[in-house]
Symmetry: C2
DNA sequence: AAATTTTTACAAACTAGTTGGTATGTTTAA
DNA sequence: TTAAACATACCAACTAGTTTGTAAAAATTT
């Protein structure tokens, strides 16, 4: 190895992500990325064969961080509570805390890509789908554990309940951005906590 | 008036909306619009001075329909129920019904624009913000009416509760698209109904 | 009511600038 | 000195937007 290319690659990824959230993916030109990073076209295409390869690297990094947060919260909730409902509520609380002092509205790359799907190779969209399904499965497990010791006061669809977490996350991001209200996100997640608190009663 | 240009204009708007949901706004070229509509550049720029003027017309039409649905549901809920909680639940049920037999995942232009904000003039983004606030105000009114006759079982933030409707709508659109599951939307709105049913008890 | 003028609603061809991507070099560190 | 990590210059295709022209309907005049 000659010079270390990782700082350059990381810089491309970081600045690209910011740009994609501002302009969308197809609205982000490679020239813009070069401007922000201070590198040249040769450097860019050394690290990424095509613009779509950048898209793929971006979403993979985003998903890695995302799933990382999920597992951290899962572990913390498991450590703090043995009761399955407390664990579920703590899991949500972890994200309420995480989102409680944002200075800017957050953005999700899944949503960004989902609203211009034709720009990406099918495998990228499938990867997003699979990542969201990972979230759902995790949440389904948490819910099933709850249902062993709790009854639901109204009839519930477990899959729908499990999706609700991601739905509120994605939705609160959109609305938070549209209203320029970063604090909105944690407030919405708190509603989900309320819902579960109201829904389940000890057997 | 000479020849009637309205059919042409409407065709541009309809095809453009479809294209924007496929490619994003900046990913949609005017040439693509011309291909789909079968018109020429002269015709396009006769009806819309700039591409951004199209963006504005698109969002205004979308918001008009959107607010229209809101008022329809509001009226119907008001006709069917005098009890404020029943009215609130019926209001949501109207949208559950509306979304219950989708064949494709739906899309929202607010979210689409929000994830490439730099492409639009500030007034367009403000217009989106104001439209979402209209939703919130309507929902706040419904909730306040409920709280006159009902108590909330847990402490609630009315603004957060009012936002939750839009949040679940936007979020379910994103997740529905990402998972290619059109049925998901109505299932998520049903959760919101559950929440309110559990939350309020007669004074 | 017939002839003329004006306006609307387009069509076709063009332009200046931008796009993603490439070909060919140069630098740098092991 | 060799391969990795860039830099420079370039290109064909595409971009939004413009220019110029024209058919037809509506408005105005005769």
């Amino acid at each position: 190895m000659a010079r270390d290319g990782k700082p350059t690659r990381d810089k491309i990824l970081a600045e690209s992500k910011t740009l994609v959230f501002e302009n969308g993916f197809s609205g982000t030109s490679i020239d813009q990325i070069l401007e922000r990073t201070g590198i040249t076209k040769g450097a860019f295409f050394y690290h990424f064969k095509t613009k779509n390869a950048l898209a793929q690297a971006l979403i993979e990094e985003f998903a890695r961080d995302d799933i990382g947060h999920m597992q951290e919260a899962l572990q913390k909730a498991g450590e703090l509570h043995s009761d399955p409902l407390d664990r579920l509520l703590q899991f949500i609380q972890e994200f309420v805390d995480m989102m409680s002092d944002l200075t800017d509205p957050p953005s999700c790359l899944y949503a960004s890509y989902t609203y211009e799907p034709s720009q990406f190779k099918p495998e990228i969209l499938e990867f997003i789908s699979e990542t969201l399904l990972t979230w759902r499965k995790t949440f389904e497990q948490l819910l099933e554990d709850v249902l062993k010791e709790y009854n639901a006061k109204v009839e519930v669809d477990i899959a729908a309940l499990a999706n609700l977490f991601t739905v509120i996350f994605e939705g609160s991001y959109v609305v938070s951005k549209a209203l320029n209200d970063p604090a909105l996100v944690s407030g919405q997640l708190a509603q989900l906590k309320n819902y579960f608190q109201l829904l389940f009663e000890k057997k």
